[in-house]
């Protein structure tokens, strides 16, 4: 776009340039390609698949690449009941995901244990991993999952990146 501002360049000479902060740019890249790792455990996994299918198309948000390998994923969507037997596996997979990572607890069972108040169900996946977005519903409609994804994108957009980088922290400690 053509701007004539105090910055002092002429777009006719230097081309179309967008000026922004590094954080905004990095976050824009990150939030528009959130690759989910579907931890599809129970019925919510079916709605998650429906979100990935043609009608509710999660691909519009850049997230159709459902990586089943945690090392290649950004966001773990815990879809379904987490039982005590499964809990440590979920934790281990969460630990295998590289930073930056986020978690969406999809559905009532993942958020709080849902209607399964019994001896075998972990009452909410936030007891073992940090959750960013909770989606209510049993199962949540695909639109609700997409809304959660949009909220996550907004949250990612507000995350300070540069000041949290390891190299920045090291420099601060050295200084």
């Amino acid at each position: 776009m053509q701007t004539q501002s105090e910055i002092g360049y002429n777009s006719k000479i230097e081309g179309d340039v967008v000026v922004t902060t590094v954080d905004a740019a990095l976050n824009w890249f990150r939030k528009n390609s959130v690759w989910p790792m579907p931890m599809g455990l129970a019925c919510c996994a079916i709605e998650l698949m429906a979100v990935g299918a043609s009608r509710f198309d999660i691909s519009r948000f850049g997230s159709e690449v459902m990586r089943f390998s945690p090392r290649q994923a950004d966001c773990m969507i815990v879809a379904g009941t987490v039982t005590y037997k499964m809990a440590l596996s979920v934790k281990r997979i969460w630990d295998q995901m590289p930073e930056p990572k986020w978690c969406i607890a999809m559905g009532a069972c993942a958020s709080t244990g849902g209607m399964y108040r019994s001896y075998a169900v972990l009452q909410g996946v936030d007891r073992i991993i940090p959750v960013d977005i909770y989606v209510s519903g049993c199962p949540p409609r695909p639109e609700a999952v997409l809304d959660a994804l949009m909220k996550l994108q907004k949250k990612i957009g507000n995350t300070p990146v540069i000041e949290n980088l390891t190299i920045t922290n090291l420099k601060k400690e050295a200084a």
Partner: protein, 223 residues
């Protein structure tokens, strides 16, 4: 051959071991008095009466009664469409009966599940270990004295359990209450559930000991 004829043939073959139970909703039930003989009865049912399909094995916890465990076998003959239910009972001290895995291979997983949930052992089972819970889980969840909320357990590296917050517990009526008072939905404690068949008036003393209050329910936390 109908299911009633099959039951009669079993009774004719095994005599006093078998007692026929009343028919309910068109289903024929047969009780085997001695659990040790269950394999012979099942073999006869499969080979001679053509009950070649084992639908299901279930276990019941008659908490407060003796014998405590009842194991229920649902048999079906696919060629003639007959169904029959064979029940047998085991006492709590013994908690063991022979496995019917040699008769129908499907009994393998059913018996493992019964062992996992109720704690009944099956002699002759090649691989009796837990199937739905994990190896090392110390309790048998479907027993009546095990609370729905579960109990704490720790198996580092494998699994852990916590007690589920129930906020007073399932507020629901109880099975088999024989008076309006005993059928009232209220906070339940497993120890008193088995007494529910008596009217609350009759067992006021037990309620007082369990709940801490003669009219129960007492405080939310179990005493």
């Amino acid at each position: 051959m109908t299911s009633t004829e099959a039951a009669q043939k079993i009774k004719a073959k095994f005599g006093d071991l078998i007692s026929e139970l009343p028919e309910f909703r068109g289903e024929v039930n047969v009780n085997v008095a001695d659990a040790e003989q269950i394999v012979d009865v099942c073999k006869y049912a499969k080979n001679d009466l053509d009950f070649n399909y084992l639908v299901d094995i279930t276990s019941l916890d008659n908490y407060g009664d003796d014998p405590r465990w009842t194991v229920v076998y649902h048999l079906r003959g696919l060629r003639n469409g007959c169904e029959i239910r064979i029940k047998t009972s085991v006492s709590e001290e013994r908690s063991k009966l022979p496995s019917v895995i040699k008769v129908w291979t499907t009994a393998n997983w059913h018996e493992r599940e019964i062992y996992d949930m109720m704690g009944i052992h099956f002699a002759g089972h090649p691989d009796l270990r837990r199937i739905l819970m994990w190896e090392g889980y110390p309790y048998f969840p479907l027993r009546k004295d095990f609370p729905l909320a579960g109990k704490e357990s720790q198996l580092p590296g494998i699994a852990f359990t916590h007690t589920t917050p129930m906020a007073g517990g399932p507020f629901v009526t109880v099975a088999g209450g024989n008076s309006a008072q005993s059928r009232e939905p209220r906070i339940r404690i497993p120890e008193t559930d088995s007494l529910e068949t008596m009217s609350r008036l009759e067992r006021r003393k037990e309620i007082q000991e369990a709940h801490g209050h003669p009219k129960g329910p007492g405080p939310i936390e179990k005493k």
